[in-house]
Symmetry: C2
Subunit: 498 residues, 2 copies
């Protein structure tokens, strides 16, 4: 191997090891760590984060990158690793160490402040913290921004390279003009769907059995993966041979099932990363949006498709005979696809989900670009819910304080969720031209679908951007139209609209 690259690689190995340790601490904290371990373990995490910052921004790394940039014989992967390292360094090095550390403390504290404020329905107690977080994010964005670039565009690019407010305005504009009238039509003329049988009387042990079964069924490899329980479902990975998903078990039985299919989609992405790039700066899913495209593809496009359930519904009935013996597969399919505008994003149905994201996008733009009065955010939030979804939250816990994201400085992250839906639909349209998708689902041939996604998306990690992947897989640039068509066709049919 090239000596210069080898040197970079061995320094990167240290940063990756620290990052992997941090991932493990986070996993452990969410799934197992005893409740009083918090502040003690936080010291460890703080120290390891600072070490990571030190290595990434240090001269040793700087020299190694500079030396590699002079090399002309790097392989494609080596070049990608070099670029990945450079980007990760540039994102950090512009932030002074003291500010970096101060922010880490602020963020850790902010989670607790947010949690308490939400519990007490007290937005005002969260306001000073929110303001600090926003100021920090603006400052960081201003450090990073190129001439003429908008602050919010800097933040958006962190999660989705190649996307900015111009493109997203157009995207969300199309969603707005199509989904809102469709939703109105459904509410005014649509039929009532009964989904009451999904709630109550579903023992947790059986939900656990089904969760594990479904993960395995869609192709999640338990030799390289783990399924655990946590308050909020999530996916994480140490590398491509250790990918971990969680779900949570509630009264409403479909919740754990669709969580595990959703997280399983994230998990398949990380399991599909090529061996050659795992444990390097490009060895992860390429973007938040592409990740969500995979999870929501499995959750909605596959998991809420009747053909998926044809070979599985009998098993589900066997598991819960008391609950499902008198429920036909058609009734079941309608129930799990019921459109029901609600306050909570994470519980939203497939159709209204993107409207929740639209609202957050519009607010984030106001926060970052229009200097909105933060005191007025709960009101603006409620107004938008009333306008777009026809419901008005009276409690901040079901309104602006429902998500942890802003307390963690994750501005620019929400749009990925909606983009994921659109990426997935665009890929789906193209896949259907290459394979009899519904027949594969009916035959339970989940491996064919997984293999397609692995070879077109997963294996590359961050070596291609989401737009490059879409272009290569579908032959065209990103467009929201497939998603809109998919929603219209599916939901007009379910609700018997002409």
């Amino acid at each position: 191997m090239n000596k210069t690259y080898e040197n970079l690689s061995s320094i990167l190995e240290k940063t990756m090891a620290l990052q992997t340790a941090l991932v493990l601490f986070e996993w452990d904290n969410e799934t197992l760590a005893p409740e009083e371990s918090g502040s003690y373990t936080a010291r460890v995490i703080g120290t390891l984060s600072e070490e990571y910052y030190g290595f990434m921004t240090g001269n040793e790394m700087g020299d190694a990158i500079a030396a590699c940039e002079k090399e002309s014989d790097l392989s494609e992967i080596q070049q990608a690793v070099l670029n990945g390292a450079k980007e990760a360094r540039e994102e950090l090095i512009c932030i002074p160490k003291a500010e970096y550390r101060e922010n880490a403390q602020l963020i850790a504290e902010a989670a607790r402040v947010w949690f308490k404020a939400k519990k007490n329905e007290d937005y005002d107690s969260f306001l000073p913290t929110l303001e600090k977080v926003i100021n920090y994010k603006r400052k960081v964005a201003s450090y990073r921004k190129k001439d003429g670039q908008k602050l919010y565009d800097v933040l958006l690019a962190e999660y989705e390279k190649g996307f900015d407010t111009e493109l997203l305005d157009e995207f969300f504009g199309r969603l707005k003009e199509e989904i809102i009238p469709l939703l109105k039509e459904i509410k005014e003329n649509g039929k009532e769907i009964d989904d009451s049988f999904l709630t109550g009387g579903y023992p947790v042990e059986k939900q656990e059995e089904m969760a594990r079964f479904l993960a395995e069924y869609i192709g999640f490899d338990f030799h390289r993966g783990v399924l655990s329980e946590s308050a909020h479902p999530f996916t994480t990975n140490l590398h491509n041979h250790d990918v971990r998903i969680t779900t949570s078990y509630h009264d409403k039985m479909d919740s754990s099932m669709f969580s595990v299919i959703h997280e399983g989609g994230h998990g398949l992405y990380e399991l599909g990363i090529s061996d050659e790039i795992t444990q390097t700066p490009v060895g992860q899913g390429t973007s938040m949006g592409m990740h969500e495209s995979q999870s929501r593809f499995y959750e909605n496009i596959i998991g809420r498709n009747p053909n998926f359930w044809i070979p599985l519904y009998d098993k589900l009935k066997e598991l819960y005979p008391d609950k499902l013996d008198s429920v036909s597969i058609d009734q079941y399919m309608e129930a799990i696809n019921k459109v029901d505008p609600g306050f909570i994003r994470t519980e939203a149905d497939e159709l209204t989900y993107s409207l929740h994201i639209l609202i957050r996008y519009e607010l984030e733009k106001m926060i970052m670009e229009e200097d909105v009065d933060l005191k007025k955010l709960p009101e603006i939030w409620a107004d938008k819910y009333e306008e777009y979804l026809g419901i008005r939250p009276e409690q901040v816990s079901k309104g602006i304080l429902q998500d942890i994201h802003w307390s963690q400085g994750l501005f620019g992250y929400f749009p990925s969720y909606a983009l994921g839906n659109a990426f997935g639909a665009q890929l789906y349209f193209h896949m259907k031209k290459e394979m009899d998708f519904d027949q594969l689902l009916r035959d339970g041939k989940m491996d064919v679908i997984k293999e397609y996604l692995r070879s077109h998306i997963h294996q590359y990690g961050k070596m291609k951007t989401s737009r490059e992947i879409l272009k290569a897989a579908t032959g065209e640039d990103f467009t929201p139209e497939y998603f809109i068509d998919y929603l219209k066709e599916k939901y007009r049919k379910i609700y018997g609209l002409s």
Copy 2:
């Protein structure tokens, strides 16, 4: 705070953070990590270990220690931390980096070689690896040894400061001359005890319930601790607010119960370390022997004492009515104290346990001091089992290959297990003078016992050696006589010997 000390403290924080991360990886690997994650995660662990080595042996640490040594106004804790840091550094710095790394790889590989050799009953395939491990340990011991010191004494001191072959020869000599005849007498004249009812028909869920109950009952704090399952029970801790124990569930019901009480004893030790020293180099149990004294104290002196079971036996019967309804508490007590010489150390009864250790001690001395022919070890092992326990293992998996320790280079570690028994008995004798021990057990006042151990032992961490702790708590230096008296009294009574 003193500036010089503060500097040392902040460098130590980095090494402690790396060590804590390594502990978490080990925990995760034993309890949860997917089976194919091994070699990928091993890279991460290797990198973090090297970082730890680098920090501990680096100039920054050396300078900070040297500066602190010139300070005259260090507090007692600061002085102990300084000494702890110095010792940890001295243990590492004498080993050249290349050798350190090579050994880490050897050890990682050795576990796999050992595991396979054990499975295949093939000692010869393990021999070359064992030889390499032994050579490395001898080399390290020779780097560390002081003039005239024996190599094996260097290794012993790693686990138990203040103990050497001279003291241990005497200790094991006493055990040998007292336990072997007693065992013979029991076998020749003793009664048959029926313990068959302990095996079979104990559902794992109920064993889990009992395990958690017992841990809580002896005072293990689940706000700062975790109980999980693993192939071999063990205890680990990130700090004094995150202590983790495991057990394993088998056909033989008492196995999981006594494992959890044993590991609970280890756990209470780490939970009892004072807040002021946790997350420093002295913030752990002082030695392997003192640790085993706590675990075996809970397992045997408490857990196999009839007074402990008086308030609990009804609960046990309620949990397993089919199995225990016709078993009296006296029958139960005899069964869990049955003397039954067997091949496997970890399954040994309280009386014969120390003989398993004696055999390992004698072999380790031969290996380190007498240049024994390694090919002959299985034969020597079998001869000693025949001589001391009256049984001869025909399979290496039940003989010399049963323990992982030697593959991991843990020479000098085994004696701690026997010392722990003796430390515990010495402490027990003294405690009985200060409190009505049996009455406390009958009343379920486990907190009084825990508090005594915390205030006399746990809180100090490594600030006192095991001999200093014994001296302060019992008023005399270490002696094996209390342990011998305890065994003789207890087992002569159980077996009706005059």
